[in-house]
Each structure stands twice: as structure tokens, then as C-alpha cells.
Amino acid sequence: MIQELLQSSPGLLNLGIFSLLAVLLLFVVLGFVTYGILSERKVMGFMQMRIGPNQVGGRWALLQTVADVLKLLIKEDTIPKVADRPLYIIAPVIAFAPAFMVLAALPFTDKFQFADMGIGLLYYIAVSGITTVGIVTAGWASNNKYALLGGMRAAAQMISYEIPLVMSVVGIVLLTGSLNLNEIVEAQKNIWYIVLQPVAFIVFLIASVAELNRVPFDLPEAESELVAGYHVEYSGFRWAMFMLSEYVYMFAMASLTTILFLGGWHPLPFLGFIPAAVWFALKFSLVIYLLIWIRVTFPRLRADQLMEFGWKVLLPVALANIFVTALLKELFSMF
């Protein structure tokens, strides 16, 4: 359906349909994010011998995040007097918009996808990089020393980790011969890339955690050092935008991991009767759970260690992985 729309001549009707779909997706994603946050809090709580939220919306607090977001939306919006006003206002938007833009490229099932791009993977990585700009802008525009430090850390960290992230997926691209996410999933019909590319998976996982600014790489907002880092001055819905973008990215990154390494919507052998969407959701949940689990367990790295790890460990490993993959591919294709 989307393909047809994309190829049809532009018109007001198309615009309307696009907008409608976009809004629909927005709500679907927001719904996911809402429960993603809730599940994170619940799982964290359980692991920490607590019950977690249990007040709003029954025993499982099903409406907790909704209430939280509503509260944030109606909170007073404060802007520091000496902040750079225009930048301060636009920063959350810069951080937030790409988070949604990347979702367009992700194939959730073979049918449920918005844009089947030939360069889907590249698109994802390129667009997600824009968020860094938003975060640095926020840090700078707040005119707060902690925010500035956080912003600077974010810039350094996210740029450094983008490279191993890209490098780790090059192996997959080599094996598939395409940057198209659909084709990557199709290529995993028989065997998932996590089996063929275990090293790449580990590098990708680490780099993606760093990209998401989550523990143990949550330096830009390290609350015990920088109070809240780049968004220390933000409140209300502006802050909510940062928070949501963070969680939308978590959603997107988990989806991407599923697509790249866990075979997307493909079922396990003999379990094909379960619908593709369910498979995707299961794998996706597993990745989310892994991210939460890591967050519960680990302490935070230090900035210089983070850099060292990124450049001296992850990048060489990723490069070696590309080399070995290329070599093996050539060797196998020879016979």
C-alpha cells in the first residue's frame, strides 16, 4: 500500500493519507514506548526486590506512564533567563524528530512497513546521528555548566560509537549484498546472522547501548556526576520530548537489532504457525529485556575509559570482523 502511495503522483489526498498514517504510527509507537517504559520500571523493580509502579491503573500500573506523560505535558514550562532561547526551544525537536524518522525504514513484518528503501540501513544510521546535534544544542543552549559538560560528553560519545556501530553491520551487508533491510531479513530465512556474525552482534549490542546513552554508557546524563547532564534545565513537555526520544530510540534500536541479527519476523523452525508479528514482538521484547537487564546490573564507565574502549577495542574488533567476513565469503564462494 505504501509503495503504491509513494509511487502515485503528489496531491492533497496523498498528503492527507500520509499525515494520517504518520499520526497513526506516532500513536502506535507512543503506545509501545509507554509500555516499554512501564516494563522497564517493572522489570527493574522486580530485579531490585521492589514491586515497581502499582498505583495508577491497577496492580500492574497500566496507566502509570500515561499519567506521567500527561503530567509532564501540563507542567509549567521553564526557560532559564540567560539561556539561548531559540536554540533552547528547538533542541528537543531536533532530538525528537529523527527518532521518529528512523522508524519509517524499519520492516516490522513483511507487510507492515512504511518505506522499503534500498539503503534502509544507511538511512537509519545517518538520520539517527542527527539526534546528537539536538543533545549538544540542548546542552549548550541551557547555559548551565552541567548541561554543557553533558552535551560535550554526548557529542564525543555518540560520534565515537557510531563508527563501531556502522562497522559491525558491514559484515551483514557483505553477506547479504544489500543495504535494504527487507533483503537482510529475507537472507536470514534459514540461519540468523547472530549465528553467522556473533562478534558483530556483540559489538553492535555494545555500541547500540552506547548510542542509546543507557547504563553503562549513560555519561551524558550521569545523574551522580552531572545531576542530569544535558537536560538538567529542561522541564515539562520539553523534557518529555527528550525522554520520549530516548525511548523511541530504544524501540527503534531493539527493532533494528531484531532485524539485523535475530532474523526479523522469521519464526524458529517448526513454529511457523505463529504469526510473523508475534515473532517479531517476541524477539524485540527479548532485546528490550536484555537492555533493561544490563541497566539493572552494571555501573557506569568513565568518559576516558569509554573513549578508549570505543576506539581501541570495539573499532579494531569490528574491522577485523569485516575482514574475516569478506575473506570467508570469498573462500566459500570459490568452492
Partner: protein
Amino acid sequence: MLGLMKGLGYTMKNLTRKKVTYDYPNKPLPLPDRFRGIQKFYPEKCIVCNQCVNICPTDCIQLTGKKHPDPTKRGKLIDTYDINFEICILCDLCTEVCPTESIVMTNNFELAEYSRDELFKNLEWLDENDENIRKVNKV
């Protein structure tokens, strides 16, 4: 890497362990008998000896006595008795020195009020505070 894995194992193990949080405002906290909460005052037992006023480290108790209305009886009766819970630290010394146990501790500890003035508790209030009274007051 091994250390990280061990840590992951530990948190995973705790996922299913029994939770330890209190369901506080819904269920009252389990408190031992000795717990030092807001005092309960028995005006009829008080002999106006002033010892609690003297021992109070923060000077938060104020009392006045009056002559016994029955002229044949000696001693005094309590007239007013105020504790200022803005500064009371619930240290238990007043109940410790009281010779007649006319002031004792209870297990009530919720003192939140909308105004500071309401933290000034008088004789009537302290007399009515008669729930969860401590059973054993002296060793």
C-alpha cells in the same frame, strides 16, 4: 567478562525472589512495642512534678498545675500540658523520668499537618491520642 556475567546472574536470580517493600500508606508499618511515637498523656495520673519539663533536651514541654479543688486533699492537678512537636525529637526522656507513667509513648508517628501551629499539641489532644499505646514503659 566473567565478572559482568556473574553480576547479570545475580540480578536475574533476584527477579523472582520475594519482594521486600512495605505497602506503607495502605497497610500500617509493623512497629515494635517500644517504638517511640507521639506521646499519650493521662491528666488524671499527673502529679505536676515538672520532671518531664526539666529533662526535655529541646524544651518542648510546657505545663501548668492548679491547686486541688478539694481542700482536704494535698497535691496538685494538671491544668495545661503542651508539647510542641515542631521541636520534639521523640527522645523518650520525658516518659523515662515520669514517676507515675502519666506520659507514655504510642506507636503513632504521622505528624504531617498543613500548618505549623497545628503541631502544637495540648492536653486534650494528647489525652485523646490513645491508640497503639506502648505496653511496657519501664524496664
